[in-house]
């Protein structure tokens, strides 16, 4: 898990610098995301590294959970209902 973290952090650092290169050259860069970019989306790792250096615009998207409950026609929450989103990567104990 720690190894994964350091590898993925390196990957985000390198990706951000690549994108920064294009932005610094005056180009516009579009990052395509599945679902909603700031809801468990990988884009956020570029965003936190670049948004203070370059102007950014985030266009929200349909989350996977929303796609699922819409496809099945399941009203997920109403009125005073509370919704808690638990990542499947958590241990059962947590």
């Amino acid at each position: 898990h720690d190894d994964y973290r350091s590898q993925i952090t390196d990957f985000y650092e390198q990706s951000a610098e690549q994108v920064a290169g294009h932005l610094g050259a005056g180009k516009m860069v579009a990052v395509l995301s599945e679902g909603d970019p700031l809801f468990y989306g990988s884009y956020m790792h570029l965003h936190v590294r670049l948004s203070h250096r370059f102007p950014t615009e985030v266009i929200p998207g349909i989350t996977a959970m929303s796609g699922c409950w819409s496809a099945t026609g399941l009203p997920i929450v109403q009125g005073d209902d509370v919704l808690t989103v638990l990542p499947g990567t958590m241990s059962e104990f947590e």
Copy 2:
């Protein structure tokens, strides 16, 4: 609160019957929703009353919370983060 509940239930019953009248006459009906129809959306009250009687299709939308965190560029959850959605209509005690 109880009074509101019974009034809004009557309203949903009447609305569902009006829509059912059009559907029964062979018409197609589109219900426009703000946000995501099945995420605290009023459409769900028509859906539960009519979807067993008529074919329905639910098209997911951008929730208000997603619109907010996107507009402000705030990465809301990542990795193993847990997100809990609490309606502002709940009492402070709850």
